[in-house]
């Protein structure tokens, strides 16, 4: 994997040695560059330390128990002011997050994957010239705009279909997050699909297969690890999406499966808590770090899994 240039042996044996000052400054520069690269590790360590330290202030409070946090089904950190009576059970927030993310993935996975298949297997150059920039623009639109779109158009649309939808509901937020994740799934999956060598496709054609056979029976299975990793990355992106749910999903933490209800998500709760007048230092305030820790752990596992699947199961073609 050594892509850096191999130093010619003449240089290695120092027969054509570069000037001394160049070598000295080289050492300093390399040390600086390395410091920058290692700085990214320090950043990860800092994130973990920060989350552990701040959420310790939450978990160590006598009003909070870990079992209640992990298995409780009521979350009243914002509604109840009396600390003795506040209940910290993560499940309403977690279920809200999973509802929104689930709906988002119902849209982003199939649509993103099919668009990727179309782009890599079928699209003529003319269609590609329109479709690819559109997806890039869609990917570049700020998330707060999707939140606004959900409130402006998706929610009224859903209420027009069925009046039982709340003004703020999991479905409209989920649809907006899904649209937001679609370009991500599409571009990552397309990368994976187009990495499959042409010779495999030619083999299918020579056996009399159609393009659909090629795409579904050969190219997709060969690129499966890349596709799955794209899906996982989109999933973790949707879990951490903040502004859309803060605008469109509502502020009520509900433990339910009904997608028509309000559903505060973990990220939505973090925003609401920061908007509220609760002071830095109260247990309720620190609860947002507990929530953030849970969110971080889930997204971290998803992303790591995605990366590892992509690395480990990538079929290497010459």
């Amino acid at each position: 994997m050594n892509r850096g240039l191999p130093i010619p042996s003449a240089l290695e044996q120092k027969r054509y040695r570069p000037t001394g000052s160049a070598r000295r400054s080289e050492r300093i520069v390399v040390a600086l560059l390395m410091a920058c690269a290692l700085g990214t590790i320090a950043l990860s360590v800092l994130i973990v330390l920060m989350l552990l330290r701040e959420s310790w202030s939450f978990f160590s409070s006598p009003n909070v128990s870990l079992t209640q946090f992990l298995f409780g089904t009521r979350w009243t950190a914002l509604e109840v002011r009396d600390l003795e009576k506040v209940e910290f059970g993560i499940w309403p927030l977690l279920s809200g997050t999973l509802r929104v993310t689930g709906i988002a993935m119902l849209i982003a996975w199939p649509m993103g994957l099919i668009t990727a298949i179309y782009l890599s297997e079928f699209a003529s150059n003319r269609v590609r010239k329109i479709l690819k920039p559109s997806l890039e623009i869609l990917a570049g639109i700020p998330t707060v705009v999707f939140g606004y779109f959900a409130v402006l158009l998706i929610s009224p649309g859903l209420q027009w279909i069925s009046p039982s939808f709340d003004t703020f509901n999991a479905t409209s937020a989920g649809i907006a997050v899904g649209i937001l994740c679609l370009p991500l799934v599409c571009s990552l999956a397309e990368d994976a699909l187009s990495a499959v060598p042409t010779s495999l496709r030619e083999a299918v054609y020579s056996l009399g297969g159609t393009r659909m056979n090629t795409a579904l029976n050969v190219v997709l299975p060969s690129a499966l690890s890349g596709v799955i990793s794209a899906m996982l990355l989109a999933f973790s992106r949707a879990l951490g999406e903040t502004m859309v749910v803060a605008l469109a999903a509502g502020t009520l933490a509900t433990f339910t499966l009904d997608p028509r209800q309000q559903s505060q998500t973990m990220t939505g709760f973090i925003v609401e808590m920061l908007k509220s007048d609760l002071e830095y230092g109260t247990v309720q305030y620190y609860s947002l770090f507990g929530v953030a820790l849970a969110l971080f752990v889930i997204t971290f596992v998803m992303t790591l899994l995605g990366q590892l699947i992509r690395r480990r199961y990538r079929e290497v073609y010459q």
Binding site: E54, Y148, T242, L288, Q307
Partner: protein
């Protein structure tokens, strides 16, 4: 993408079995489905842009671009401070994260170690960067909140609306007095006593409104008033009480940063750092290794090669990635909301590093969340401005990519 082989192109249906006919029909349907799904994303984009343009275009005018937020009257509200704020924030962000990001990418791509353990570390850094790109931006916001805004409360508890922490430089404290003729204001330099008001008794170093030093005269009201208007312009009544004013230079610096421009810029730089690293790595990887070999063949060291050959060759790609990252930074709302809070009342852009700052996404969020219908229309107008800015940035990126 390959062309169908000739034999298959000249495929004769009457020779095919029914099974192949079925396969071909399925193929056509599948292709139509793919096309429909692909086009639907264009349709969604179109719907999104049109509905927002329809909602917002009526509020988009000169006043809207030059005014600031008005909590009472939506017709007079505007987004000028947020435009300035977003641009300054983004520039700062680029200054901070571009050098670090490109340096990390250069190290990862051009200086791969030979030592087995260092190589393993290398892989770890690589995996770590991919993971950092997947950390939700709101978590970065919380990191910024504890690390930059409160600094783990090492400098005492930071309360709202209260000065605390340590000032380093860029701040001047004065007491403000009205001159004896009530026509001008004079600033008296604060001394070591650090009182919040000053009762003037004797002559002190003083400045006029342009902060040029002047010779202060203290006039005892029991004695006759000086008559020369020039002298009167630098005279204050004895016993007057002056209030404290703080004048900040743009480089004003204090610890902890508090909810300030610098804290927001640092936080946002962390958010876009992995994006810049990944994009720069891709750009460096696209430089053919023959170029590096040629450079090495002429006796250049690795750093000389990188500096003089690889980086210039990869520059368009690096810049493309940088612009896309900037686009992400300018549209990012969650971390800034966590660090700066949702306050949009500011009437100017940020004036110094520790000043608060309004950005476009925060303004859009606050307006979209407002129960008053007119503000929600303003949010749409602000979205038009933001998306237009992003489109300009994206087309710059596409142009650069075309040249690389």
């Amino acid at each position: 993408m390959t062309e169908l082989p000739k034999a298959l192109q000249e495929f004769k249906p009457n020779e095919a079995s029914e099974r192949t006919e079925l396969q071909r029909r399925r193929d056509r349907w599948f292709r139509a489905l793919c096309l429909a799904v692909g086009c639907s994303s264009i349709a969604i984009l179109f719907l999104l842009l049109v509905s927002i343009a329809y909602q917002g275009s009526s509020s988009l005018n000169g006043t809207f671009l030059s005014a600031s937020h008005d909590p009472e009257n939506p017709a007079r509200a505007g987004m000028y401070p947020s435009i300035v704020g977003s641009v300054i924030l983004c520039t700062l962000c680029a200054i901070i994260s571009l050098p670090i990001g490109v340096a990390a990418a250069v190290y990862l791509e051009e200086f791969q170690p030979k030592n087995r353990w260092l190589l393993r570390l290398h892989g770890l850094v690589q995996l770590n960067i991919a993971n950092l790109a997947g950390v939700p931006s709101v978590v970065y916001g919380l990191l910024g909140l504890t690390l930059f805004v409160y600094m783990f409360q090492l400098f005492g508890k930071l309360e709202q609306n209260q000065v605390s922490g340590i000032d380093f430089w860029g701040i001047q404290r004065y007491y403000q007095f009205v001159t004896a003729d009530d026509l001008a204001v004079i600033f008296v330099l604060m001394d070591e006593s650090r009182e919040s008001t000053l009762k003037i008794e004797s002559v002190r170093p003083a400045f006029d409104t342009n902060f040029r030093p002047i010779e202060l005269q203290v006039w005892d009201p029991a004695t006759p008033q000086p008559t020369d208007p020039e002298v009167l312009g630098r005279t204050v009544r004895k016993g007057d009480v002056g209030a404290l004013v703080e004048i900040y230079s743009w480089y004003y610096f204090r610890l902890p940063f508090g909810p300030s421009l610098l804290a927001a810029a640092l936080t946002l730089s962390l958010v876009i750092l992995p994006i810049i690293v990944i994009a720069s790595q891709e750009a460096l990887r696209a430089v053919p290794s023959s170029m590096r070999e040629a450079s090495a063949g002429m006796g250049a060291t690795r750093w000389q090669t990188t500096q003089q050959v690889t980086l210039p060759a990869a520059l368009p790609g690096v810049l493309t990635g940088a612009i896309l990252a900037m686009g992400r930074a300018i549209g990012e709302a969650a971390p800034i909301f966590v660090v700066l809070g949702g306050n949009i009342a500011k009437r100017t852009g940020p004036e110094h590093l520790m000043d608060s700052c309004v950005t476009m996404p925060i303004l859009i969020f606050a307006w979209a969340d407002n129960p008053v219908e007119q503000y929600r229309q303003l949010a749409a107008a602000a979205i038009i401005v933001l998306v237009a800015l992003l489109l300009v940035m994206n087309s710059m990126a596409i142009y650069l990519r075309g040249r690389s």
